[in-house]
Structures are given as C-alpha cells and as structure tokens.
Symmetry: C2
Subunit: 244 residues, 2 copies
DNA sequence: TCCTTAATGTGTTAATAGTACATATTGTAC
DNA sequence: GTACAATATGTACTATTAACACATTAAGGA
C-alpha cells in the first residue's frame, strides 16, 4: 500500500497534507500465567535507555498487511511458540508521549496460557515470568496497561470459564480455588466456592484422584469439552463464529 | 514530528524500512440520544460511492499531535457543539479491508447526550438522529461498531448511573423506566424497577410534580449532584482523576 | 358534580443466590 | 495405630430477585 494511495473521502483527503500517517500502531500483550500459586505475567528487559533496568510487556508494531487482531496472535506465536491461545482485546492507549521515540498508539490484549504447556518455548533469554504482585514499575505505560488488563480479567473470571486456560487439563478443586484466589487477590470460602463452581456446571468429574500429593488426594476434574473448545479461541475467531 | 524521527528500539528501527507508518488511525463515535421513547444514534450520509445511500457514524482521523482519547471529544465538540460529554472507549477495529480507501484502524467510542440540550446544534444538514431499531445496514463496518457499543452500553446501564446523560435534569420514574426499556429492549416491571432504582440511592426527590401531562402527574427526581458531576466526565478526565 | 379512565404509587410473597459456619472422612507420616 | 492435614459435604441465615394486586390521584366528559 503506497502512501499515495487513491484517497476518496473528504476526511482522508486531508491526510496527505498533514501527514496523518505518521502514527505507528502497535500491540502489547499481557500474557498471564499461573505458577507456584501466583499469577504471573510474561515480561522482558526493556531495550530503551530511558527505561534501563525496567521490564516491559511483549509487543510489536502492527504490520501494514496484518489484521489488528492477528498481531497479538503473531506475537504470542513468535515469542512463546503457542497457537490457539485465549486472547482478548482490552483497551487502546494513545497518549501523546507514551513512547519516547515517537507517536505510537498501542492496543492492549490479554492472554491466558498454561505455563506447563508442552509447546511453550521461551527462547529469548531475557523473557521470563514475573509475579504480578512484585511488579511495581514497568517501562512505558505498561504498568497502566497491566493494571487495566488485570482489572478486566478479574471482571471476567466469575462470568466466563476462561481461567482453565491457565491450568493443565486435569485439576483438583483446591488447585482451581488457589488460582481464583491468586487472580482475585482474596481468600475464598472452600465450601461456597465449590457450590458456586458446581452450580455453573462447567466441570466434568473425571473419577480420578490426585497422585503424589503429601496429603489426602482430591478428585480430579476437567472443563467440559464444549466449553474448552469455545474458550480456547482468540477474539477474532470468536467474532468470526458469531458472524457465521 | 518527522517521519525521520530518532528511532531507538529495535522494533521501531524496522519501521522506516517497511513503512509501518502507513496505517491511519481514526475514531468513530456512537453518539446515543433518546427521543420519542426510542434510543437513537447520530449518523450522517456516507460520502463514499461504495456506500451510496448508507449512513455512517461520525468520526475523523486522529491528528498527529492529538491524544487518542481527545479525538472523539473533538468530534463531538465539532459536530454537536457539546463539551463535557460522557464518552467511553469500547473497542478498536483493525480489519485489513474495513475501509475501501486504504488501511484505517479505528477506535470506537460511545457517547450519551441529551437530545434537548440547549447547546446542541447540528449544523450539517445530512447529520441526523436515527432510531437504533430501524438501522439494519451502515457503511464500512459501522453496524458492527454500533452493535458492539450498544452491547457495552447495555452491560453498563445497570451498574453505573450513566443513562441520566440522555435525559434532562428533571425526570419522572416513568420516563426513566421508558429509557431503560428502550436501551435494554425489554419491558420491566414498574414496582421492581422503582425498588431497584431507589435501592441504588442514585436519585434525589425534588418534591416537584410533572406538569402538562394528560394524566396524573408523577413526582420529579434528579441524579445526585455528586454523581452527575462524576458521570458527565469523559474517559480521559476520569482516568486523570484516578491518577490524582 | 360525579363517574370513568388511565396513569401513579406502594407492599407481600416465593424463589433464588449468596454468606457464614461445623463436622465427618480419608490418606500420609510418624 | 494414632496424630495430623487436607478433602468432602450440609445447614441455617441473609440478601437479592421475580412475580404479582390493589389503592390513589388527577383529567375529561356526561
């Protein structure tokens, strides 16, 4: 696509003059994981002098021939090796000075992935998991982006069966409750938690037991196959399905 | 800002080569109004041949030196004369072929304004209110944008006191219920509705009565002054307040 | 003036969801 | 086999939601 493309609308005709195309568009991914009873996020060392010593989220510029919603999918695929991840667009941040190198507007997505997934491979040595609670500062406005995504995640976990993307296929109710507590940052009553979960009818009892635990083993469950399919899809895939 | 700006990060250094800056960024506003017991939206005739006869939302390209969240505010101000409107960012649409003239990514906002506001002036002759229920097609992907914003509005009306932006200062409970019904598209029980509203403690009884109605007049209420201030602010203003 | 009409204004009950809390059971480890 | 620690389950209380019926007030016409 050339910058001298055939512009047809009045509003776009002005663009060539004032160089409207001088805004770059990026995506930033808040990639959540769950490990050691802690909610974690994938970060990397910032490569900007301004932010020396700070971590930043994983992101990239959107390519000229790339659908916006494909970009975070590509970032996930490139940096973690994972495909078919859960992805959700959250907010677009367009402050004038959010990027020290120029005008970059970024769309934030959050993703939920299984830290133990066999296909997960983090090759870049400076990319690593970091507990949410220990992150006070991030490069750019990435702390704001993280907080915004975390808030959205907290809103959604009680309504939609999405947290299972953070767990392995089989899990006990205790593990599930630990996860919810890590996400919400509160302690939950075990009996009421079990009641709420069973009421939602999301789970299937596998009639299997935990193994190699230093206490009485709990029953194992998995997410209903139907729901597992539905909530492993990216935003874009879901939207396409809605249209169909 | 020159296109030859000092790029510092690796990811942005690639930009100059591949012409990443060839993506234009726009905002589109779903401006809701309420009239004749119907939820309406401000639309205008599309000026593109491809969409002849179709309406489109009000939008504009984001200016190089303009904060993203300021752009819809400017659109509102330019096209309706209104300032201090309620504005909420909803979603960013970045499909490859959503704009026939080139690559334009758009961030959608919805706004709630009072159709009877004294400062409201729609000067452009092709801009007008259109009932939501009669709109089957819009230019571009604007029908999808409208639907997405409407869905978000429906999610929010029961939680936050925002619908009052659509009404004049004084209103009866019947008028308020009609408005909720128009937004949600369902009929509500009068007694349960009144109970829910009074429980939320949003309203102040003005000890005044409706006048010039062809039936028994109802009591008039207004939104608490505190809330009225809080929920008349734009997204950006609220976020700034949160930081402070 | 009185009666009809149409809308406002309020209360009760049943069902459902949510919260607080106690006891029995099972497997591990000593 | 006994102490321990975690699983598993039930019950009473409260709050919220949903369904539903009747009295009251003003307008308008006979």
């Amino acid at each position: 696509m050339s910058k001298r493309l055939q512009l047809k609308t009045a509003e776009i005709e002005k663009a060539t003059h004032i160089e409207y195309f001088n805004i770059a568009l990026s995506v930033d991914c808040v990639i959540f994981g769950y490990e050691d009873k802690q909610l974690k996020v994938l970060v990397q060392k910032s490569d900007l002098a301004e932010f020396q010593g700070l971590y930043s989220l994983l992101g990239d510029l959107v390519r000229p021939n790339e659908d916006l919603d494909d970009a975070p999918y590509r970032v996930l695929s490139d940096r973690t090796g994972l495909r078919d991840v859960y992805l959700e667009q959250v907010h677009t941040f367009g402050g004038l000075n959010r990027h020290p190198s120029g005008r970059v507007v970024t769309t934030a997505y959050y993703s939920l992935i299984d830290v133990c997934h066999h296909a997960l491979q983090i090759t870049e040595h400076d990319v690593h998991w970091h507990a949410i609670n220990d992150l006070k500062n991030l490069a750019f406005d990435h702390k704001l982006i993280l907080d915004t995504c975390l808030e959205r995640l907290r809103q959604q976990v009680m309504e939609e069966p999405i947290v299972f993307n953070l767990l392995q296929e089989k899990f006990s109710l205790r593990q599930l409750q630990d996860l919810y507590e890590a996400i919400l940052g509160v302690e939950l009553d075990r009996r009421n938690f079990r009641k709420r979960i069973t009421l939602k009818n999301w789970l299937v009892d596998l009639n299997e037991m935990e193994e190699d635990v230093p206490h009485r083993p709990g029953k194992l469950y998995k997410l209903r196959t139907q729901l597992r399919r539905e909530y492993r899809m990216s935003d874009k895939q879901r939207m396409q399905k809605m249209v169909v």
